[in-house]
Amino acid sequence: MSYGEALQALAVRRDDLIVMTAENRAPIRSLPSALGPRFVDVGICEQTLIGAAAGLALRGRTPVAHALAAFLTLRAFEFIRTDVGIAHLPVKLVGYVPGFLSEANGPTHQALEDVALMRGIPGMRVVCPADEAELVAALPAILDDPAPCYVRYNAIPPAVRHREPFAFGKAEVLADGDGVALLTYGFLLREAEAARVRLEEHGVPVRLVNLRTLAPVDEEAIVESVRKARLTVTIEDHFGTGGLASIVAEVLLRHGVMGAVHAIHLGQRWFKPALLPDVLAHEGFTGSRLAARILAQLREDNHQ
C-alpha cells in the first residue's frame, strides 16, 4: 500500500483529517477527488499553509500538511515554531525529498538541517521512516498522537524486513553483532544494510539499528550500542550540526557513557546535485563505500 492510499483510507474514515499542501501533490494526487473540501491546497504559500493548519487544529481538526522539506522546515520555520510549536497543536508536517532525496535539484532544495530544526521545537516529534512500508505502518500512530509531528518523508521500497511494530521513541534493532554498531534513519537504512553485509563478509559483526524516530529518540538503544560495540557509527544525510551525531553526543553525555563513535554526515557542506545513485557514490554513502570508510576507521583505531 502506498502512502497516498494509506492516508486516503484513514482520511475517509476520520472526519477530523484535513489533507493540505503547498502545491506539492505527487504522492497524494488521488486525495482531492476522494476528500473533496477536506483537501486544501493553498498554492505556493508555505507560511500560510502552516498558519491555516494551526487554525484548523484550533477547531479540532488534524491537518496533515505537505510541502518540500526544505521549504516546509525553512521558509515556514517560524510559523511551525510559533503557531504549531508554542500552542502544541496536532499539526502533522510531511516534508518531501529531504536530504539526498532532492537529488539533482541543487542546494536550494537540500533539506540537511530539517532534523536539527524540527527537534529543536519543544514537543515536536520527528519521524524518519526507512521506507514506504515503515511510513505506512507509522501513519496511524502519527495521526492518533496529540503532538505536532514532522515526517521526513521517504517512500522507497523496503530493503529489510521490519520485525517490530512502530512506536515513538523505539528503535528497531535489525542485527545484533558486537563489532560495529550502525545507527541510521530514513532511506539510508538501505545503504547501511548493504554495508552490514560487506562488513560481515570482512569478519566484522554488525549491530544495525534503525532509529525510526529522532524525537523522541530511543536513548537505551543508543547507550546499549555504544556499550556493546567496539565502534559506533552514525550514518545520515544531514549536516553535522543537530542531527543524529549531535543526538548521540547528547544522549551519551546525559547518561555519562563514553565510547568510540564515528559520525558519517555532510559536515558543513551541501552535496553535489545529481541523480540519487550518483549522489550516493560521489558522497561516499553507498553500502560498499560506507563499509570501506568504516573498515578504514577500524584500522585507524587499531593503530592508535
Binding site: 473540501p37 487554525g55 510559533t82
Partner: protein, 309 residues
C-alpha cells in the same frame, strides 16, 4: 474552477442550540461605549509604568476593541465555547493592554488582575497569550494570525457554520509578506466569514508608514487581492456600527475594514508621536496622564521618549 467552488458543507458536531443573535454581552445602553472606552484607556495608561507597555498602538486600537466586543462579536464569557461563537484574533500583539482592559471591563477577567501586568505570577505580558480567557491565540510575531484566522474560517465553512472570524492587523504589519499570502488564499477560498480590520494609525514602530514603506492605497490593494474593503473612522462608534453591520460586504468575498485611527488617541501629549510607541512612565506621569485623559490639561512628561532608529 476556483477553490471556493469546492467548499461544501460537511457534517460537524451540532451546536447546543440557537443563541440570541446580534450583539454580544454589550456594555449597557448606546451611550456607554465612550465611557467603556475611557475606562479601557485608564487601564492602558496604568499599565504604562513599572516596565511599561506599547501605549501608542493600544490607544489607537482601544475604540475598535471596545466596539467589536460590545456590539459586533457574538461571544461572551458565558458563550466562549459555543460552536457558533465568533472569533477575534489580535494579530498586532502590541495592542494587548487594550485587549486585557476590554476583557476586564466586560467580565472576561477580574479587573484586579490588571495590577499584575508583567508579574511572574500572572500571564499579562507584552503580547497576547491563551492563558488569558478571551485571547484566542498568541501573537507578537507579526504576519501570523491572518493565516490562523483563515484556517478557522475555512473550518467554519467546512462545518456550514455561521460564525465570523475577525483579525485585527496593524498597518505596519502589512509589510509582512505572509499577510499578502493569506489575503490571496482567503480570496481563493471565498471566505466571506473572514474580516480583516486594519488599525490604520499610520505608524510602524518608530516611523510613519508612508515615510518608510508606503502602504497606500490600502483599500485598492485589498480590492485587487479579491477582498471587499471599506474605510471608516476607527474612533467613531456610530460609523463602526454601520460598517460592521454590513459585513460581509460582498457575498463570497472576504471583507476588510481599514479603520483610520490616531496613535495615542485620547492623550494629546502622546498622539501621533513616533517616540511614544512604547512608554514606561513614572508614577507621577501616570497620574498626570490620567488627568489628561479626563481633560484636566496636558501631562508634564519628562521620561525620555523611545526612538530606536
Amino acid at each position: 474552477m476556483s477553490a471556493e467552488a469546492s467548499l461544501e458543507t460537511l457534517a460537524c458536531p451540532p451546536s447546543p442550540g440557537d443563541r440570541e443573535g446580534g450583539a454580544g454581552r454589550g456594555a449597557g445602553g448606546e451611550g456607554s461605549l465612550p465611557a467603556l472606552a475611557l475606562a479601557v484607556r485608564e487601564h492602558v495608561v496604568r499599565m504604562a509604568t513599572r516596565g511599561g507597555c506599547f501605549i501608542g498602538a493600544s490607544l489607537s486600537c482601544a475604540d475598535l476593541l471596545v466596539h467589536l466586543y460590545s456590539r459586533v462579536l457574538r461571544i461572551t464569557p458565558e458563550t466562549r465555547d459555543d460552536p457558533d461563537r465568533d472569533y477575534l484574533f489580535l494579530s498586532k500583539g502590541h495592542d494587548v493592554p487594550a485587549l486585557y482592559a476590554t476583557l476586564a471591563e466586560l467580565g472576561w477577567i477580574d479587573r484586579a488582575r490588571l495590577a499584575g501586568h508583567l508579574s511572574v505570577h500572572d500571564d499579562l505580558y507584552w503580547h497576547p497569550n491563551r492563558a488569558i480567557p478571551g485571547v484566542e491565540f498568541h501573537s507578537g510575531s507579526l504576519g501570523h494570525l491572518l493565516a490562523v484566522g483563515l484556517g478557522v474560517a475555512l473550518d467554519i465553512k467546512l462545518c456550514g457554520g455561521t460564525n465570523r472570524v475577525f483579525v485585527i492587523l496593524g498597518d505596519g504589519e502589512l509589510d509582512e509578506g505572509s499577510v499578502w499570502e493569506a489575503f490571496l488564499v482567503a480570496s481563493a477560498y471565498g471566505l466571506d466569514n473572514l474580516i480583516a480590520v486594519v488599525d490604520r494609525n499610520e505608524f510602524q514602530a518608530n516611523v510613519r508608514t508612508e515615510e518608510l514603506v508606503p502602504l497606500e492605497p490600502i483599500p485598492a490593494k485589498l480590492e485587487a487581492f479579491g477582498w471587499s474593503c471599506r474605510s471608516v473612522d476607527g474612533h467613531d462608534f456610530q460609523a463602526l456600527d454601520e460598517v460592521f453591520a454590513a459585513v460581509p460586504f460582498t457575498a463570497g468575498r472576504p471583507s476588510a475594514v481599514v479603520a483610520r485611527t490616531v496613535r495615542g488617541k485620547g492623550l494629546p501629549s502622546l498622539e501621533r508621536r513616533a517616540d511614544r510607541w512604547f512608554a514606561d512612565f513614572s508614577a507621577a506621569e501616570i497620574e498626570d496622564l490620567l488627568g489628561e485623559l479626563h481633560g484636566t490639561g496636558a501631562a508634564a512628561l519628562t521620561t525620555e521618549g523611545l526612538v530606536v532608529r
